[in-house]
Symmetry: C2
Subunit: 296 residues, 2 copies
């Protein structure tokens, strides 16, 4: 594809981790013009290679001006935010101050999530938030064998059991993952995240609370998950922790889970004998329980 095929440039706002750098690289390689914006104190130093504009939390006016000047209608937000900005960092440029009432309103609340409110702020200014996978689809997991050994039939049975748990849980808007070992669901992911759940599995095995060999981590997107801003991802740490927990493999939902640092992740799967497997995309399940307004 030549740059002319897709003339609208896309802005990528880069938080922490390697994934934003990979997204920028993949989108550029596809021929699309990418304006990289690095969040100061968060973006990986490797982003420097892609001529980013470094912006702090208080430079929202500057961000808006930049996006308009570069004719970016599409905006991708990717990567983590590892530290909470201090108040003096938020008090910023004129554009920030002008938008401050709305920003504070977004931060303070409402029933929907903070990210949903941030998306609305962007949309109200005429931008469109899109998912990283829309500009770098090759980072998504595909179907079938991805790396590592071939899954045994026991592993496939554990995979199926954990997959059913994740589907059931998705109806309740609970986490994205579950671990089944030897025909039993051993751990379910809540707010602690996948890595913490895998560490727990390793401990349970160590103290003899989990019997049986192998086991499989299943990771999916939740049924109503907004993939534009909250795309599940696995990476080298996932494979390492799965190996440390004695699991036989990791299965992810094809087309809805990113693989970060793909080369290293796949190589680790091979060396640590942890299979990576892409499951067909789950059918959308009707939610049993609408999310309820919190008390804050």
């Amino acid at each position: 594809m030549s740059p002319g095929d897709n003339p609208t440039p896309v802005a990528v706002i880069c938080g922490s981790g390697r994934l934003p750098v990979e997204v920028v690289a993949a989108a550029r390689a596809s021929g699309r013009k990418v304006v990289a914006i690095a969040i100061k104190g968060e973006a990986d130093p490797a982003i420097a290679e892609y001529d980013p504009t470094y912006l702090g939390w208080g430079q929202i006016g500057k961000l808006a001006d930049l996006l308009k000047r570069e004719s970016c209608r599409d905006v991708v937000m990717i990567g983590g935010v590892t530290r909470r900005p201090e108040v003096r960092e938020i008090v910023g440029d004129l554009g920030t101050m002008r938008r401050l009432p709305r920003i504070v309103a977004a931060l303070v609340g409402g029933d929907d999530s903070l990210l949903t409110r941030i998306i609305r702020l962007f949309e109200d200014e005429g931008f469109r938030i899109i998912g990283a996978h829309e500009i770098a689809p090759e980072l998504l997991a595909g179907e079938g064998a991805i790396a590592g050994p071939r899954p045994s039939s026991d592993a496939m049975a554990d995979l199926e059991l954990a997959r059913r748990a994740v589907i059931e849980l998705g109806r309740l808007d609970i986490g994205q993952g579950a671990v089944a070992i030897a025909g039993r669901i051993v751990a379910v992911e809540g707010a602690e995240g996948t890595d913490a759940m895998l560490r727990r599995c390793a401990e349970l095995r160590q103290i003899g609370r989990v019997k049986g060999k192998g086991g499989v981590l299943v990771k999916c997107a939740k049924p109503g998950q907004d993939l534009r801003i909250d795309l599940p991802a696995i990476g080298p740490a996932t494979v390492e922790l799965a190996g440390a927990a004695g699991l036989a493999g990791v299965a992810v939902e094809a087309g809805r889970v990113l693989i970060a640092e793909r080369a290293r992740t796949l190589q680790l799967a091979g060396t640590s004998k942890v299979f990576l497997w892409g499951m067909p995309t789950l059918p959308p399940a009707p939610k049993l329980s609408p999310s309820q307004p919190g008390d804050t």
Copy 2:
């Protein structure tokens, strides 16, 4: 009730913790003759008050003789086993040796659980394993307010959400508990147990990963759970850990969850302002997934 009302004596095999002592005390108070058997190295010293016979792992022949001599057809097994017996402890009396092939077969496996296999061993000798709640029903949680403050409407919404999660999970034979905070399921109990899940909730709150006030732990028996040998229980530690996690309360399934150290548990609920609530017994849910044979 006078002892004459129920002439068959019951044997209570006591593992670790205060609960076995309470069960023996409650059953005796009801007028039934109780033969207390204390597992050496496990039973709480307070059991001494009830003239127990102390038996080690290798004294299964002596146990069988005792039960027959005392005309105990009904047997209750209650309390934890905190350490794995060593081989030299299992090599025991003549009665143990005679039964050894069957004991080893039970320990080594099959598709059902170890406890199910132990029950079968007893049954084959003509005994009947019954639940602690059958001889001490007053230890079970009742319905409605048990102790602590009155639940707010937010807390009741969290309770309902966590209850639905536990029902869904029960269909997959997953743990017995879940925690909802401010309209969101934050943690689900797997093999780690309730206490570990509550500690996780405290950590998640401390690192700011969980927003919102209050929250409720729901604890139930699993749909197909064998209450004779695996009756869920809460106690002082549950209330303390729930309080440390900032939860507003603990809700248990009435009639299917024991309250250990009731006086202290209820008093702690009051002083730490954590409500205890008994939910109506859950309707039996059809299992989605039959438990699958393990690979061990």
